[in-house]
């Protein structure tokens, strides 16, 4: 059966409604919330700060460490608290998604910690987490070449779509998830994962759609950063 109309009525290249806010956690060096539809991520940055054990210290710059997790009640069936193999992998790809735009060379021997938690999950959580983390890093004043924006594209039944929600991921005809993160100025994909079933041509088409989506997300991110300072002025 062909997928002619999206479950929530969106166009195939239309993202869910987005919302972004920075400075949500006062204690942190930088923090942010990013929401896409019913997926909500919060992120906090601590550091640059001392890094132990000492063998992890690098004279060339701070060591970036990202930690991602789902809150136990953020998903339909309770998620057992604590790290999993899935979160271990997401920590790694989140670090690689954000690392290329950060300049940590001024912070020799230090550690920079980014914590991402999903408070409500409706697919696309790693991308929402990266969007929030990117904002939190900017909010913390970490030297960055540009903001990173992330989105999941993919295929639901026979249609290439942008920003799958959980109902689409669980489509009876199968769905392909292709999460990406993009550094918009260099056009480099700093996150690229995929699982499902797509041809080379379909992947290329999906990536181009994802690129457009990332440009839109970037605008929302920039607006959120500006909003914090226009509020501060008042």
């Amino acid at each position: 059966m062909a997928y002619t109309k999206r479950f929530d009525g969106r166009k195939f290249d239309e993202m869910r409604e987005m919302e972004a806010k920075v400075g949500i956690i006062k204690r942190a060096t930088g923090s942010a919330m990013f929401r896409a539809g019913k997926t909500v991520a919060i992120a906090a940055v601590y550091g640059p700060r001392g890094l132990f054990p000492a063998f992890l210290q690098n004279p060339k710059g701070a060591r970036l460490k990202c930690v991602y997790d789902l809150l136990s009640f953020s998903v339909t069936e309770r998620k057992r608290p604590g790290p999993s193999r899935r979160s271990t992998e997401i920590n790694l790809v989140t670090e690689q998604a954000l690392g290329p735009v950060l300049d940590l060379t001024k912070f020799s021997y230090m550690g920079l910690d980014v914590y991402v938690y999903i408070t409500q999950a409706d697919a696309g959580t790693r991308c929402a987490g990266i969007n929030a983390a990117s904002l939190a890093l900017a909010d913390a004043g970490i030297p960055m070449k540009e903001l990173i924006s992330a989105i999941a594209v993919g295929k639901v039944s026979d249609k290439i779509v942008v920003d799958l929600d959980k109902a689409e991921e669980d489509h009876e005809d199968g769905a392909t998830d292709l999460p990406i993160a993009m550094a918009p100025r260099t056009g480099e994909l700093t996150l690229l994962q995929m699982d499902g079933n797509m041809s080379q041509e379909e992947i290329k088409e999906a990536l181009e759609m994802g690129k457009k989506a990332c440009d839109e997300i970037k605008e929302v991110q920039i607006a959120a950063l500006k909003a914090k300072y226009s509020e501060a002025k008042k």
């Binding site: 069936e77 193999r85 899935r86 271990t88 992998e89 920590n91 790694l92 790809v93 690689q96 690392g99 290329p100 292709l178 550094a183 260099t186 056009g187 480099e188 994909l189 700093t190 996150l191 690229l192 994962q193 995929m194 699982d195 499902g196 079933n197 797509m198 041809s199 080379q200 992947i203 290329k204 990536l207 181009e208 690129k211």
Partner: protein, 254 residues
């Protein structure tokens, strides 16, 4: 070393004279390398060597797949393989590799999970694939992927009596399989894309993209790794390169 490798690549050459899209030779795949396993394989690509084994067990199905068996994939970077691998539980790199392999096998529907159901809602087969590194001379990812699918392809079910597994007593029934995913990882060094790096090339690499493709020619899993990103054009070129190499690698599988 990194600059030197780059300068050789700039001249469209590699340290060992291979083409950018050429694997080391020979690729040796040996099945049944461990007699107690339900299926096993040793893969050598140049000096890189890994072994994979399949063990089967029964258990309760997951709530969301009452009529399907399960797959578990593990990778251990054994300390025998490299001075860089220290003993201990699998680290993030090993977990990432296991999950890449798992996705390729799962999403290509290589294993017919419905046929691994014994009693719906009660008892199903679990397929457990473990991959161990023996010698790391570069490109452990593709060697591990080949080893995992080879081991699955010659795996059989053990006997089952009164819902109890008779370990060590094998039937002639193969693990039910459909398509075969094969993976190829394209490494980015500077602006160059190469496959099957030696350890020196791997250490000089900035980024990598792993692609799993089945006989259908479709892609079932991808994973970008390391620091550097890929532009859309680079990713497309890498996928094309991987597809070409996978066609050749597939012939090595018996």
């Amino acid at each position: 070393m990194k600059d030197y490798i780059k300068s050789v690549l700039d001249k469209k050459d590699r340290l060992d004279g291979r083409k950018f899209d050429e694997f080391r030779k020979p690729i040796v795949i040996t099945n049944d390398v461990s007699s107690k396993a339900e299926g096993s394989a040793r893969v050598k690509i140049g000096d890189t060597e890994v072994i994979a084994g399949v063990k089967m067990d029964v258990g309760k199905p997951y709530p969301d797949s009452q009529d399907k068996g399960n797959l578990m994939t593990g990778v251990e970077f054994l300390s025998v393989a490299s001075p860089e691998f220290l003993p201990g539980p699998p680290g993030p790199q090993a977990i990432e590799l296991a999950r890449i392999l798992d996705r390729g096998i799962r999403e290509s529907k290589m294993i017919d999970f419905k046929k691994l159901c014994i009693t719906e809602g009660e008892l199903v087969w679990n397929v457990i694939v473990d991959i161990y590194t023996i010698n790391d001379a570069g490109n452990l990812i593709d060697a591990s992927a080949l080893a995992a699918v080879s081991a699955l392809k010659n795996a059989v079910l053990p006997k089952l009596v009164d819902d109890k597994v008779q370990f060590g007593d094998f039937t002639k029934t193969p693990v039910p399989l459909t398509l075969t995913p094969v993976s190829c990882t394209v490494y980015k060094i500077g602006k160059h894309l190469i496959v099957d790096p030696t350890k020196e090339e791997e250490d000089a690499a900035d980024g990598r993209l792993t692609v799993a493709v089945s006989e259908s020619g479709n892609i079932h899993a991808m994973q970008k790794g390391m620091e550097a990103g890929f532009t859309i054009d680079e990713a497309d070129k890498a996928i094309g390169m991987a597809k070409k190499c996978i066609e050749k690698l597939r012939k090595e599988l018996k």
